[in-house]
Amino acid sequence: MKIAIATPVITLIVGAALAASFLFTDMQVTSVKKGDLAAATAVAPGSAAQPTAAASTGASAGAGGSPSASASASASGFVIPPHANYVGQVQGDLGSVAIVVHDTFAVAYFCNGSTQEAWFKGTPHDGNLSMTGKGNATLTASYALGHARGTVVVDGISHVFSIIAVHKPSGLFQSIAVVRGATIKAGWIVLANGTQVGSMEPNELAANPTSQAAPKLDVSSLTAQYEGTTIAVTPIDGETGSGF
């Protein structure tokens, strides 16, 4: 009888102990990653020749099992990946947004697969982005390992988003090509589930370029067919630095 009375309490204690041990392990992993950052920033102050040293530090210390070995920590305590791709739909499903961060540079793109799109460039600060694009388009976001969220304003319409980190073949793709004398600029966002959404400006250099749906992107060959012409597509990938 006494044991039967105590079992629910044992359940609670086991749960609390499990939580404590997970929390402890998480803290160990986090401190390892913060240590990586300290090493990386000390070794490589913006020099392209240094990353091997930082990478080897990350490889030796990054035993936590996360793919991003050399994540950095911001002043607020978030762990900020130096290289990351985030894609996802905005709330209300009126478009998709992609954010690509590569060291001290970030590119973002919003499009709805037809007439609304905007490209953004900016510099990340402690996991925060405040970017501007053509036509008073703005994008503000904060990101950490695995997740980014923020607000994008395109054509005066504000969209809130909460999106996740992805790896190839999901991500952001761009094509700038000259087809019959007109410079076209197209962008595609390939979502985590493989669906793609793309918009393009058929004449980017026009005074008031209009947007339309982009042709289908062939992710495997990195090409698209536009008006009978094959155009080359470049992935904008924060992990490899492609497109930067």
Partner: protein
């Protein structure tokens, strides 16, 4: 001779007996306070510490979010076992008499579900914290803290003899309802937003 009419035996009395508060419910005070403390602690921790964005990864899944979505879904499955077994125990399913192992099934499915939710919750609180940036996130955060509060009350209430009969169904029902709300505001949202994937 006409017999005098008798009221039916099932409704013997029309006298109103004033019902005072059930003194047995006092037994619930300490468990309830403990549950409040747990819920409050989780909420304050989630709100006050800076979310790290990372936690321990589990091999075989593409991201921590997918791990949590699947674990939460497994917890829901065990939660449904909880609901079904408790309905059987209370004789609420017509035609099904409680088998002798139903208590064990209820206890063990509950323990497994609880452990799974603890794993998910630690990750949530550590990596993401108590969020308020959309209604979905607010609902999820509040329900998550309350869920562990209710579980605490229920576990502690189980140790006390002489509880009123409504306590366990109420607490169990609350826990299940909160679990469903938590799942809909996280795993269901995740799967519908990003599609089924590992």
């Amino acid at each position: 001779m006409a017999t005098q009419w008798d009221p039916p035996p099932s409704h013997p009395s029309t006298t109103v007996v004033p019902v005072g508060p059930d003194p047995a419910a006092r037994l619930l005070v300490v468990p309830a306070l403990a549950g409040c403390l747990v819920a409050l602690t989780l909420g304050l921790y989630g709100r006050l510490h800076p979310p790290t964005g990372i936690a321990v990864d589990i091999v075989g899944f593409s991201s921590p979010a997918t791990v949590k979505a699947w674990l939460a879904t497994v917890a829901i499955a065990f939660g449904l076992v909880q609901l079904g077994s408790s309905l059987v125990m209370y004789g609420k399913l017509p035609g099904i008499s409680a088998p002798p192992w139903i208590g064990g099934l209820h206890r063990w499915s509950g323990r497994i579900a609880f452990i799974i939710t603890v794993i998910v919750a630690v990750h949530c609180l550590y990596a993401l914290g108590f969020g308020t940036y959309t209604p979905r996130v607010i609902a999820h955060s509040v329900a998550g803290c309350l869920f562990f509060g209710v579980i605490t009350v229920k576990m502690l209430a189980l140790t006390r003899r002489g509880m009123p009969g409504w306590v366990m169904p109420l607490l169990g029902g609350l826990a299940f309802a909160l679990l469903i709300l938590i799942w809909f505001t996280s795993a269901f949202w995740f799967f519908s937003f990003f599609g089924f994937r590992r």
